[in-house]
């Protein structure tokens, strides 16, 4: 049984560009949450998707958007990248609000 997978593993972009990160949830999970983790910090909640709708959102600007597909996989899009967007982006899946299982993350570097 595959766990949560994320792609790509690493990404380098320049300021102003746009990026799309992808996540495939653990089999049987219907809820996907995205987190941003800056170096030396704990993860910060970006948003959560359930039944293809954004159910909850953290304190992130509208430049951060997402999508969930019928197969429960999800994308995180970030527009107009800033240097401060450099971080590890983590996807987590769960069955409802229960234990969240995290993927390995995508490390984004904005130059």
């Amino acid at each position: 049984d595959a766990g949560v997978t994320q792609s790509p593993t690493h990404l380098i972009k320049t300021r102003g560009q746009q990026v799309t990160l992808r996540c495939s949830p653990k089999s049987g999970h219907d809820t996907v949450s995205w987190y941003q983790q800056a170096l030396g910090q704990g993860p910060q909640f970006i948003f959560q998707y359930y039944e293809e709708e954004e159910r909850q959102r953290g304190n992130f600007p509208d430049r951060f958007s997402g999508h969930q597909f019928p197969n429960y996989s999800s994308e995180l899009n970030v527009n107009a990248l800033l240097l401060g967007d450099s971080a590890l982006y983590l996807c987590a899946s769960s069955w409802g609000p229960e234990t969240q299982y995290f993927g390995p993350g995508t490390r984004l570097l904005v130059l």
């Binding site: 949560v4 809820t31 949450s33 987190y35 170096l39 030396g40 910090q41 704990g42 993860p43 910060q44 909640f45 959560q48 159910r55 909850q56 953290g58 590890l88 983590l90 987590a92 769960s94 409802g96 609000p97 229960e98 234990t99 969240q100 299982y101 995290f102 993927g103 390995p104 993350g105 490390r107």
Partner: protein
């Protein structure tokens, strides 16, 4: 501001010793979860304790929860070098339905 705050920020011990990490939070919770992270990789779920539970065990891990003090502790017994990692507590705040709020973590180093 962070909902959860871990203490200490860093802990260095010898193999075989016990390691205790503490977490405090500010608002009512549905549950509290502990995670481990190795070298900036993905988080590994360790244990979930619900607001109506006081103690849970999983292998060498023991977690306690005191909702009156809004605090939790994670005890790792007979630590191993492989336990070296960052440990985070995360709270699922009442009404948030699975939106986890993390602390800044405790960096544990276990020397062989």
């Amino acid at each position: 501001s962070q909902q959860g705050e871990e203490d200490p920020q860093a802990l260095s011990i010898q193999e075989g010793e016990n390691a205790t990490m503490n977490c405090s939070y500010k608002t009512s919770i549905n549950n509290l979860q502990w995670y481990r992270q190795n070298s900036g990789r993905g988080l590994v779920h360790l244990i979930l304790i619900r607001s109506n539970e006081r103690e849970k065990h999983s292998g060498r891990l023991r977690v306690t929860l005191d909702t009156s003090k809004k605090s939790s502790s994670l005890l790792i017994t007979a630590s191993r070098a492989a336990d070296t990692a960052s440990y985070f507590c995360a709270t699922d705040v009442k009404g948030s339905y699975g939106k986890l709020t993390f602390g800044q973590g405790t960096i544990l180093t276990v020397h062989p």
